[in-house]
Symmetry: C2
Subunit: 425 residues, 2 copies
């Protein structure tokens, strides 16, 4: 192999994986802007169309055709600018073909750096690709870049994406609670907001940041980590309504019964006998109606929460950008099979730095909400949780607006000319 | 009666009515700040605890104990700072007692000005109270102040509260659509957002502002004004998915079948045979699943949309404040039984002024979305609608933040000492 001093700098492949967030493009921005500043050492940054599928299908966007302004605008644009996907590669022993294909595509486009921006699965994939490349003698630097609104990755103080959802949910609870409190005398007494988070209660816990004084909303939080007890829940809803006139509930989509079944598996059937779709909030609302008769409303924020760049946490945006930037720095420093993570140095004022963690340690570990973050009743957050979560929603980072709407960028997304045969994966 | 020059200035009664909004407190701010600037002509501003119920029950908050800073902060605080209610007074001929009671309470507290901040019902009530006071020889100036997120009041270019919900919905659609587009290759292909608006499609129409270019979301809007045709809807969803890979739907809560029944009356039953709660979005999602099999997600914004002061329209905030200010000016100018309204002078750039409309003309008329605002397909908005709606969401008016959350004010809300016997209404 020629020495790096003589060879043209090798290219970068960047892919977004899994559910997108309000700030995953800020990470892309960090990667591309940093790579552009090191044009002597790095070639083009190719981005996978729809994530890793783009590599398998040899559908690579050439980000070098994008203007600096457009790349800069990624910092404030939600969603996945290049497309993402839910596509888990099979274990290598079951089917090595996708891995071989990745290396073929990387070789065809002189890609020496693989940045994989995703959750636990993606860290695992990046780790496997790294090992395989080494085994095949293909020089490849693999860096995982953490991302997930669920905040369930280990080894990092926060997952980029989480802080912004956390802020959205805390703001929504504070605002909706004012609405409900205003009207409860003659109208809605119970309001239920369903939030994301899968098996981890981090996002639900963030709802707890909305309250400042005793009696403030949310009055009850349902965590996936605490088995749901219907009778106890209804008793507490009713007691709250009697005490302060209304009750605001934040329910995790992952809330489940003691036997492990999700609340969203409600057993509801429509006229044709089809199982009714999930929705923890309507399920809880039906319980409240049937058992207590209180007037209620419910909301399901769904994608609104994870795409809400308009109310992103400035801390989250900074961290999302920083992990992208760090990925490039790590690669240039010769690190491999690692991921940049957020290391908390101090709570108040919050201080953090970037650390490095081997991919093997991040892969396939689900970090749930610690028990010490859940109050003894099981329905609230502790002071410790508050101390941990509050800095993650700190600061506002508003996008620019045009005609009353956020001015989000759309890239040109020009595909690189194919060099290989089509992949039948 | 002594002349006004000799008598102490008479007091003001202000009440919030019906569903609260992100900016109804900006109207309260306009009323109270303007009244404070005319302390020579106006006494204290009393606010009804929970709206008109506060007058009936003689539960009046004395706003004179609030600091200027706290009253100023009402401008950026959502919900109803004094409480609102859903309480429609009976026709006078059926039961004059509530009206008599109102006048008794007004007399007991030397209230000469009644500002009623609400929708069509409230304008009607203010009008009736005005007539009755005159008939009983009690000098009372009655001013209605328009408010409703549904935007269904006549005689005004926009209803304060609407512009901010409109902006929330347009922003949410733009953001969620970026999320869906990123993932549609391997994940969600159909996304349905349910919005408010009751029998009028104004809020749903505002979702249409999210799109800029052909093919942009929202791809289909369901208006209450257009009878729902399930087969046609499903055909269009499927065609959109096939054409551009995904489909974003905005559905009004008031969407209904040709026979007039609401989609939310879904006929769903739970295990106990109870009718399942409404929710147009989950109902539509079930149709998509059963007929097309596309992966889908749905969101119900519910109170989040009408309390979202964090993303309020600056135009809406200005208009909400202006109608409060104008109410006081009208009263001081000797106008009675009128409401300040927004008069559009020009589309681009948007220019508006305050006008005055007799309450009788505003009462009990529901202004639906004009047919000329709905595209010929029935699923989109026209250029004319865009021109009308775009200025209403223009401008951002961010609240101050503390610890990552909007710093909303809580007033002291000190009750005035009772002077009358308890009311058994």
């Amino acid at each position: 192999m020629p020495s790096q001093a003589q060879a043209p700098p090798r290219n970068v492949f960047y892919a977004q994986s899994g559910g997108v967030t309000a700030v995953i493009n800020a990470t892309a921005c960090g990667v591309i802007e940093t790579a552009r500043r090191h044009a002597d050492q790095l070639g083009k940054v190719f981005a996978g169309k729809n994530g890793i599928l783009g590599a398998l299908r040899e559908e690579l966007f050439d980000t070098s055709v994008e203007t600096d302004a457009d790349i800069g605008a990624l910092r404030h644009t939600p969603g996945g600018a290049f497309g993402s996907c839910r596509h888990k590669l099979p274990p290598i022993k079951d089917d090595p073909r996708p891995y071989t294909r990745l290396i073929d595509v990387f070789r065809a486009h002189d890609i020496g750096y693989f940045f994989y921006n995703g959750g636990g699965d993606s860290q695992d994939t990046a780790n496997k690709v790294s090992a395989l490349a080494q085994q095949r003698g293909y020089p490849l630097v693999c860096i995982g870049i953490p991302k997930t609104v669920d905040n369930d990755l280990p080894c990092t103080d926060a997952c980029p994406g989480f802080g912004s959802v956390a802020k959205y949910v805390a703001v929504a609870v504070r605002e909706a609670a004012l609405d409900v409190a205003s009207m409860s005398e003659t109208s809605t007494k119970v309001f239920i907001l369903e939030v994301m988070g899968r098996h981890a209660g981090w996002i639900a816990a963030a709802g707890g940041l909305a309250g400042e004084r005793p009696g403030d909303a949310p009055h009850l939080i349902l965590f996936p980590e605490v088995p749901f007890d219907q009778a106890d829940f209804l008793r507490r809803v009713d007691a709250t309504v009697r005490r302060i006139g209304h009750c605001v509930v934040v329910a995790s989509e992952g809330a489940r019964h003691a036997d492990g079944t999700f609340l969203a598996e409600s057993g509801l059937r429509d006229a044709f006998g089809h199982a009714q779709l999930g929705g923890v909030a309507p399920r809880l609302a039906a319980m409240v109606r049937d058992a207590l008769g209180h007037k209620h409303h419910w909301a399901v924020a769904d994608y609104l929460q994870r795409s809400a760049r308009h109310i992103a946490s400035a801390t989250d945006v900074q961290q999302a950008y920083a992990v992208g930037e760090a990925a490039v720095r790590f690669a240039l420093a010769g690190q491999n099979a690692v991921a940049p993570v957020i290391v908390r140095e101090q709570d108040e004022p919050y201080r953090w730095r970037i650390g490095a963690v081997p991919l093997a340690r991040m892969a396939n570990v689900e970090r749930k909400l610690p028990r010490a973050f859940i109050s003894s009743t099981g329905y609230g957050i502790t002071a410790k949780a508050h101390r941990h979560l509050a800095p993650l929603i700190a600061g506002e980072d508003y996008p620019a607006y045009r005609n009353g709407l956020p001015d989000y960028v759309r890239l040109r997304n020009a595909l690189v000319k194919r060099r290989l045969r089509r992949y039948e994966g």
